[in-house]
């Protein structure tokens, strides 16, 4: 019953894209407002209907995905607010919308982690940290994609209609690269602690650390990629296109490991 509510923000987002399709400067503002409206709607649903209680373990899988969409949107809205880069919303909302669609279609089933009560706080923090970290990396992924397209446009010098469209704040390569870097810097600790907690949880779940689980391998590979990227950026000043490619690969690995953990080896992730 609750699931129909997910459609409200989804419809708002789709409608905002229709508005955007008019390609008029007047409508651009409306588009931004609509997206904010969608976000507020999402938040209200999250707070009133699902509530924090809804996320106490055991979770319903659709709520989990909805929560993911909300976290992603919040991260981007906060980011856009601080860096005056509202246009990122344009690219991140499809991702959010896909999450909402998944949330709507996924069966309303309990995914019950086999967990003792004492570990519940850790499990919640684990989920929260990983989701925030992943959202930041998702943002880095989107920004990397924009960077690569933008960079190619500037390098190839084709279709550069700079004079027809006076530069709104944004779209400049330096800013995109900075956002990428900040996402990485902030997201990395989140992911690191999240993974450590995950390993701890899986240890307590299987009563041993020695069983090698696919999810752990995937997470560690992803973590390693981001660690290398962060190191290169900090120590050697890696920038620009190469960093963007790294960001894209890293995020694809995150998607792969999420897919692994939820669809192929749910048991290893501690689901029944």
């Amino acid at each position: 019953m609750l699931k129909e509510l997910y459609l409200i923000p989804l419809i708002i987002y789709i409608f905002s894209y229709i508005v955007f399709a008019f390609k008029d400067k007047k409508y651009y503002k409306l588009f931004i407002y609509l997206i904010y409206a969608g976000f507020i709607c999402q938040s209200i649903i999250f707070l009133t209907f699902l509530g924090i209680k809804g996320f106490a373990v055991p979770v319903h899988i659709d709520r989990f995905v909805f929560f993911n969409a909300w976290i992603l949107m919040s991260v981007v809205v906060i980011f856009g607010f601080f860096y005056k880069v509202e246009y990122i919303l344009l690219y991140i909302t499809p991702l959010v919308a896909v999450n909402l669609i998944i949330a709507f279609f996924v069966p309303h089933i309990h995914v019950r982690p086999v967990m003792e009560n004492t570990d519940r706080i850790i499990l919640l923090t684990h989920i929260l940290l990983i989701l925030v970290g992943d959202s930041l990396f998702a943002l880095a992924f989107i920004v990397s994609l924009i960077y690569i397209f933008q960079e190619r446009k500037i390098k190839s010098k084709k279709n550069l209609k700079i004079l027809d469209m006076p530069s709104r704040s944004g779209y400049n390569l330096e800013l995109l690269d900075n956002i990428n870097y900040i996402c990485l810097k902030v997201g990395f600790p989140f992911i690191t602690i999240g993974i450590v907690m995950g390993i701890y949880l899986s240890g307590s779940l299987f009563k041993t650390f020695l069983v090698v689980k696919p999810i752990e391998i995937m997470s560690l590979i992803t973590w390693f990629i981001y660690a290398v990227l962060l190191h290169e950026r900090m120590a050697k000043g890696l920038r620009g296109k190469r960093a963007a490619v790294f960001g894209i690969i890293g995020f694809l690995l995150i998607l792969a490991s999420l897919g692994f953990s939820f669809y192929f080896f749910p048991a290893f992730h501690g689901f029944e």
């Binding site: 500037i154 390098k155 550069l160 700079i162 004079l163 530069s167 400049n172 390569l173």
Partner: protein, 463 residues
């Protein structure tokens, strides 16, 4: 007496081709050499083909504005074009990229160029100065005569009218504007960025001014002669702008590269002053921070290969031009108004030119008849006053039809035959005719000022 323009511009040729040409016309000495060679061209009868010539070279075009000799035929024009293609490219195939305009088309072309309608950036103001430079140089070389004088003055006049009467200049997007916009695509805010300007030229000045307007506070200027750079800063900038400028020694420019975010290059060097190997270590020292290079010099001073280095963005004048082309639509309407003004100026000039052909004939014909009548009638009429009246009225009546015929014939292409017939009938090709015609031309040239006033009112009417 035909005007011929041969040249190439950014629309007909690639940057490499223009570079080849401009390299051979880089200094006044090279241009003089070329002009002398052109003036040596002869037709079959061994007569000089070209009477007057001026050479215009800018970064986007090279044009040769010529006044052909009286006897030069169409064949002569093609011979000149062939010669030019051969001179610059050693390849007759390249003749394709040269355009050739004759008489009215040539005048229209020159006026369009002067009004900056043919520029890569429509409405940019530099072209008029460059045209004036070309004219001054022709005067210095003594290759500009009465005819080109009139043509150039008319062109300047036309450009001025277009600038004041239309909005073309006020909305001019210049290369400098494009450079700033581009750097805003790469950098996040220009306030903390450092600009290095190589070469002290007009284009550099405009761009630097633009950068200052957008908040750049740290600009280094390096020129081969430091004295010129200092004078350039002193003369071209306001006091407030000067506080952001800093003249450095030219030998130090390379040391400055790792600290600079934007490099503007507009020197007159013949070779690349920044090569691929130079930039690779620089970008490492910059820790891969983006470096934006703008090459607004012609021939190019920055190796185009540099654009392949990651995090280095190089734009030359051609790239910027291509970008701005998208913007042309916006000012199309203004351009239409400008074309009307140009057409009016062209018509005026062509009338003047045509009249140059016929007026001496009419004057000398009148003089001849008048002299005859006077000498004959003085035998019968003693009263001077009475004699004058009779002579004048007889001349007018006698010559009314022939004068009309001559005037009409000047307007159609076959007219030259009837003028020739008149000349032959009355034996007008004698000395006094050439004297009259010379006098007439010099008079009409000196009338430029008065005429321009007239033309301005006419243009206003047209508008």
């Amino acid at each position: 007496m035909d005007i011929l323009i041969i040249g190439l511009n950014h629309k007909t040729s690639t940057i490499n081709e223009r570079e080849t040409v401009s390299k051979k016309l880089l200094t006044p000495e090279l241009r003089r050499e070329f002009i002398e060679k052109l003036l040596e061209l002869k037709d079959e009868a061994g007569r000089q083909l070209i009477k007057e010539i001026a050479v215009l070279t800018t970064c986007n075009r090279s044009e040769f504005i010529m006044n052909l000799s009286y006897w030069t035929q169409g064949k002569g024009g093609h011979a000149i074009k062939n010669y030019i293609a051969k001179y610059f490219f050693d390849d007759l195939e390249k003749e394709k990229i040269l355009y050739m305009y004759l008489n009215e088309d040539a005048v229209r072309h020159l006026f369009t160029v002067a009004s900056s309608l043919d520029s890569m950036i429509i409405g940019e103001p530099q072209i008029l100065g460059q045209l004036k430079g070309a004219y001054n140089e022709a005067c210095k070389f003594n290759t500009s005569g009465q005819f080109l004088n009139k043509l150039f003055h008319k062109a300047f006049n036309c450009a001025k009218t277009v600038r004041t009467e239309t909005k073309i200049a006020s909305s001019a997007v210049s290369v400098s504007y494009a450079a700033v916009e581009l750097s805003r695509k790469i950098f996040n805010g220009l306030e903390d960025k450092k600009v290095l300007l190589l070469g002290a030229g007009e284009m550099g000045k405009l761009t630097v001014k633009h950068f200052i307007k957008y908040g750049v506070k740290n600009i280094n200027i390096a020129n081969r002669t430091a004295e010129k750079a200092r004078r350039f800063v002193e003369e071209s900038f306001e006091d407030k702008e000067k506080t952001y400028l800093n003249v450095i020694d030219f030998s130090e420019y390379y040391k400055n590269l790792p600290n600079s975010d934007i490099v503007l290059c507009s020197t007159g060097s013949e070779d690349y002053i920044l090569k691929y190997e130079d930039i690779v270590p620089v970008i490492k020292m910059r820790k891969q921070k983006p470096l934006f290079l703008i090459d607004i010099s012609m021939p190019r001073n920055i190796d185009p290969e540099i654009n392949k280095i990651p995090n280095v963005y190089l734009f030359d004048i051609d790239d910027i031009g291509k970008m701005i082309e998208n913007n042309i639509e916006i000012r199309k309407r203004e351009a239409d108004a400008a074309i009307d003004l140009i057409n009016a100026s062209v018509a005026e000039f062509m009338n003047w030119k045509e009249s140059l052909n016929t007026v001496p004939v009419i004057i000398s014909l009148r003089n001849k008849i008048k002299n005859l009548l006077e000498s004959e009638l003085s035998r019968y009429i003693t009263d001077e006053k009475e004699k004058d009246i009779v002579v004048n009225s007889l001349t007018n009546k006698l010559l009314h039809e022939p004068t009309m015929l001559i005037k009409k014939s000047s307007l159609n292409p076959d007219g030259i035959n009837s003028i020739k017939t008149v000349k032959a009938l009355f034996n007008l090709d004698s000395e006094d005719y050439s004297e009259v015609s010379k006098k007439h031309i010099s008079e009409s040239v000196s009338e430029t000022a008065a005429e321009s006033e007239y033309s301005e009112t006419k243009i206003k009417l047209v508008k």
